[in-house]
Symmetry: C2
Subunit: 188 residues, 2 copies
DNA sequence: ACAGGATGCCTAGCGCCGCTAGAATCCCTG
DNA sequence: CAGGGATTCTAGCGGCGCTAGGCATCCTGT
């Protein structure tokens, strides 16, 4: 049975290679520059092989997005475990993640519409990221509806990040805006 | 000179037709379904004519986006002129606009990266929409940095709208979240 | 009134895309 | 070592955004 296992292992390696290549190309040149032909060339297999791993390009993008959610959750967890661990630290980690890997972040929140947050079948990384935000907020939120408050906070962060990145908000005002948002969420 | 004027008028009519067709197709079936061939057929001209009006498909999308910004500004102005005219009314109008024309809204805030807000060369409709939001907030914001506060409020609204629409936040909690956001912005 | 040039529009096609059918090859099984 | 699945490849389909180049049409100057 070892041969079968080896093949399966190699197959998974190849799949990881595909996702990695897609992610790197996308981050460097945008998703339009990630073509199935280019991916195939990169992994040194022919084009149709991609389709034995993923249903199509959208599925590859979704795989990249999921990877991003896992890493975002990890970044938030680390921030919350840090010296302060408060909302400011976690928010800063969130913003840093989005700014350092803008295309990845955009992939996570645009497209791949079949990922819901507060639902039983929500992938674990999504739930975990949300949990970190919520626990960071808990001490400073008086409201009894912590989940909804967290959703609002998350959405506000997301709005700041996306509008700033899209050039809709002046880039240099970013820290100031973040500060104001945190102040709004530091009482009641 | 009348003939020249008539030609110019017809040309502008045709341009409006293109934008209208693009917008309708996009709202109904998404931008992928808006092809230059389809647009050409719709306006009953050949494909290259589109390129005498717009540099490319991206420019057509930008034109649609700009139209959206004008309408959004109008909607906000109307809301602010209404009986209440407070932040809640304006926010509700904002959300309604985004929900009723989701593709248009997405077009306005994704892609078309060459539109900045707080800048001298910012198109008028963008500045006006921002102004409406700011004036609605003025009575309830104690801070001396009203502009930055408005930016944060706008970003929060935007985040709520996009995350909810993308399925990242449960749809039925939307009014509740909006309520919480407004409460956060009703003091200090 | 009419030649000549500018303008406006169309036909045709380029290179690329995501994706797939069917042939060919490889490798496990009996 | 032969049969049969699984795996991978070659080749190509239809459609995309975009453009070159030719034709017709209209404005202009004599």
């Amino acid at each position: 049975m070892s041969i079968r296992e080896r093949r399966e292992r190699e197959r998974q390696d190849r799949e990881r290679l595909i996702v990695r290549a897609a992610r790197e190309f996308a981050e460097a040149e945008g998703w339009d520059a990630v073509t199935t032909r280019r991916l195939a060339e990169q992994i040194e297999y022919s084009q149709p092989v991609l389709y034995s791993h993923f249903k199509g390009k959208d599925a590859i993008m979704a795989a990249v997005a999921l990877e991003g959610f896992a890493e975002l959750a990890a970044a938030l967890r680390e921030a919350r475990a840090g010296s302060s661990g408060g909302p400011a630290a976690v928010a800063a980690a969130y913003v840093r993640f989005a700014e350092e890997q803008p295309v990845l972040y955009e992939t996570m929140f645009t497209g791949a519409v079949d990922l819901t947050f507060a639902s039983p079948e929500t992938p674990a990384p999504l739930r975990e990221g949300f949990r970190e935000l919520r626990e960071a907020l808990r001490p400073v939120i008086g409201s009894d509806d912590l989940d909804a408050e967290t959703e609002v906070f998350w959405a506000s962060l997301h709005g700041l990040v996306t509008l700033t990145r899209g050039g809709r908000l002046p880039r240099d005002g970013h820290p100031r805006r973040l500060e104001l948002l945190l102040r709004r969420f530091s009482t009641t």
